[in-house]
């Protein structure tokens, strides 16, 4: 395969892998936004939390990966419900910017707690996957990347099915669409709020575990919380499908920008490219690619 095409393909592949993680986290973010209109600045910290808990379970308590995984999800569930109850429930009805501020403060609190509990060193998951990359068609893919991709895709599909077919999923969609209608149908809104936070925390934890396996866990993972913004804007804050597609797109975009534009601009483009793209998209489609368009003609 010609070198240039191989390069491009490799970038696309990596973009897809990373994009799958972004998609998961973006999914969680949009879920909270759709049901409660809150921009959750603490998404990155929820991700870190999941990664650290899973690690502790595996290393300190020597629980096999599969059980540790589900236990982590249970922990995230509990944490999220607690947070929703104690901190966010009282904030219902307050101006949205105050709520945003609360999530920002929450992210600082979670980050400090994580540091107190787990220290500052980078931690690694025990080696499950081999270091040697798998080769096919002249391309490389690391084993851990391949499994991440498969795993993330599975989760995405599972959640999509959940929302489409399960009773709880449908109830969440109704609440997101119109809280009044949901209440008149007998849906307990408060429980739905708690559930959306819980699911959001769960998907973030999965994302954290995946990322942690790829390159280790430390407080840099929290930066995911900001990366998620371009993904959800791209897809439209109102759309779960949009978030998923947005996640993949940003993952691919980042890598393409890094591969092709870094040499031109002297580096660092990778981090800023999603935001530039975001501004451009917003100019053309202000509600994102799949967001609900609010028609306001003046």
């Amino acid at each position: 395969m010609s070198e240039n095409i191989a390069f491009l393909a490799q970038l696309l592949l990596t973009g897809l892998v990373l994009g799958s993680v972004y998609a998961l986290v973006a999914l969680g973010f949009v879920l909270i936004y759709k049901s409660t209109s809150i921009l959750n600045f603490a998404q990155g910290e929820l991700l870190m939390f999941g990664a650290y808990i899973c690690l502790t379970l595996i290393i300190e308590l020597r629980i096999p990966f599969i059980y540790a995984f589900f236990l982590t999800l249970a922990f995230s569930f509990i944490l999220a419900v607690l947070l929703e109850r104690v901190i966010l429930r009282p904030m219902i009805g307050e101006p949205i910017i105050s709520i945003i501020m609360v999530t920002i403060a929450l992210s600082a609190v979670l980050r400090s707690l994580i540091q107190i509990a787990w220290g500052t060193e980078t931690k690694v998951f025990p080696r499950i996957f081999s270091e040697e990359p798998i080769r096919f068609f002249g391309l490389f893919i690391a084993e851990v990347h391949l499994w991440s991709l498969i795993f993330a895709l599975t989760c995405v599909v599972l959640f999509a099915l959940f929302f489409k077919f399960s009773a709880a999923g449908i109830a969440m969609r109704v609440t997101a669409f119109d809280q009044q209608i949901a209440q008149s149908l007998g849906i307990n809104i408060k429980r739905i709020f708690a559930l959306s936070w819980a699911i959001s925390a769960i998907v973030s934890s999965i994302g954290g575990i995946i990322l942690g396996n790829i390159n280790g866990i430390n407080n840099a993972l929290a930066a995911m919380g900001l990366k998620v913004f371009p993904c959800v804007i791209l897809g439209g804050l109102d759309s779960i499908l949009g978030a998923i597609l947005g996640g993949f797109s940003i993952g691919i975009l980042e890598n393409l920008a890094g591969g092709y534009l870094d040499p031109v601009f002297g580096g660092g483009v990778k981090d800023v490219a999603p935001f530039v793209f975001l501004v451009v998209v917003l100019m053309i489609k202000p509600y994102g690619l799949f967001g609900k368009i609010r028609i306001e003609r003046l």
Binding site: I96, M101, I104, A108, S112, I116, L237, L278, L282
Partner: protein, 348 residues
Amino acid sequence: MPCGLFHTIYKTDERIFKTVWVRSWLVAFGLFFLLLPLFVRDYLLYVTNMIFIFIVGAVGLNILTGFTGQISIGHGAFVAVGAYTSAILTTKLGIPFWIALPIAGLFAALIGMIFGIPSLRIKGLYLAIATLAAQFIIEYTIVHWERLTNGITGISVPSPILFGFVFDNDRKFYYLLLIFAVMAVATGRNLFRTRVGRAFIAIRDRDISAELIGVDIFKYKLLAFGISSFYAGVAGSLWGHYTNVITPEHFTIVLSIDYLAMIIVGGLGSIIGTVFGVIFMILIPELLTTVGVLLKSTFGEITTLISAIKGLVFGITIIFFLVFEPDGLSEIWRRTRDYWKLWPFSYR
């Protein structure tokens, strides 16, 4: 409304300081601040100077976010624009500080208006995220346009000179910054007695209705971005010339979030709240550092625990605050003031 006030003309009704009592308190405060540097340590002067600089910037953000309802997470970037413009003008072009400062403010206002253009098409949280993008893009530009900005090494900024008088220590800067802070608060407060200010509030409250009664929302939104960024630019310029060095690391998203925290904790839509919010947000970390130093002296051990607890306490304080007093410090102030209006008659 205090007893004994009876206004017959608009002019007296619109006054900010309505009674003689309030005005005399004002004079007392003024004297206090003028005399403060004489009996206070250098370090506390530094903290107070920082408070003054942040007041200028925070008033700007409150005008945009609190009064006009446009959420901006990019304020730090506009402060950066002002700081760098002022630094470049004084170092590369030799323009004196007094001329560089307003130019920095105006240029920041221009950039602010450019990034405010999306506000025509996008609202609310989408706009907030667009301002977030502005933050990162401006940061990136500053780091990479090395020719102009010296990139990440930053620029060494000279102290301002007026008629041969050099402002090179905390005490001298104190008076300069006091003037700017007072001006910022005064102009901010007065803005909302004018037509422009009322237009801003109208846009925040119900922009469709505002448009219907003839307020050109696009023009006023842009103006809000511009004015807000002007304040930011001035704050940035002052900061640069005070600390004598600026680097891109000063102006990250953390700064934008700090500013947001200040106005939210202080009270959106309240100028006096802004002052309280700034004081709160600057004093708490300093207080926590003091506690940290105290703990180290008593226990003699360095622990990252203390540092992490600092972050924890800070976050918890803000959450606590927002959950129990969502309208901010200005609300507490208002209640206190109202209580004293009728004292000693208790009346709820």
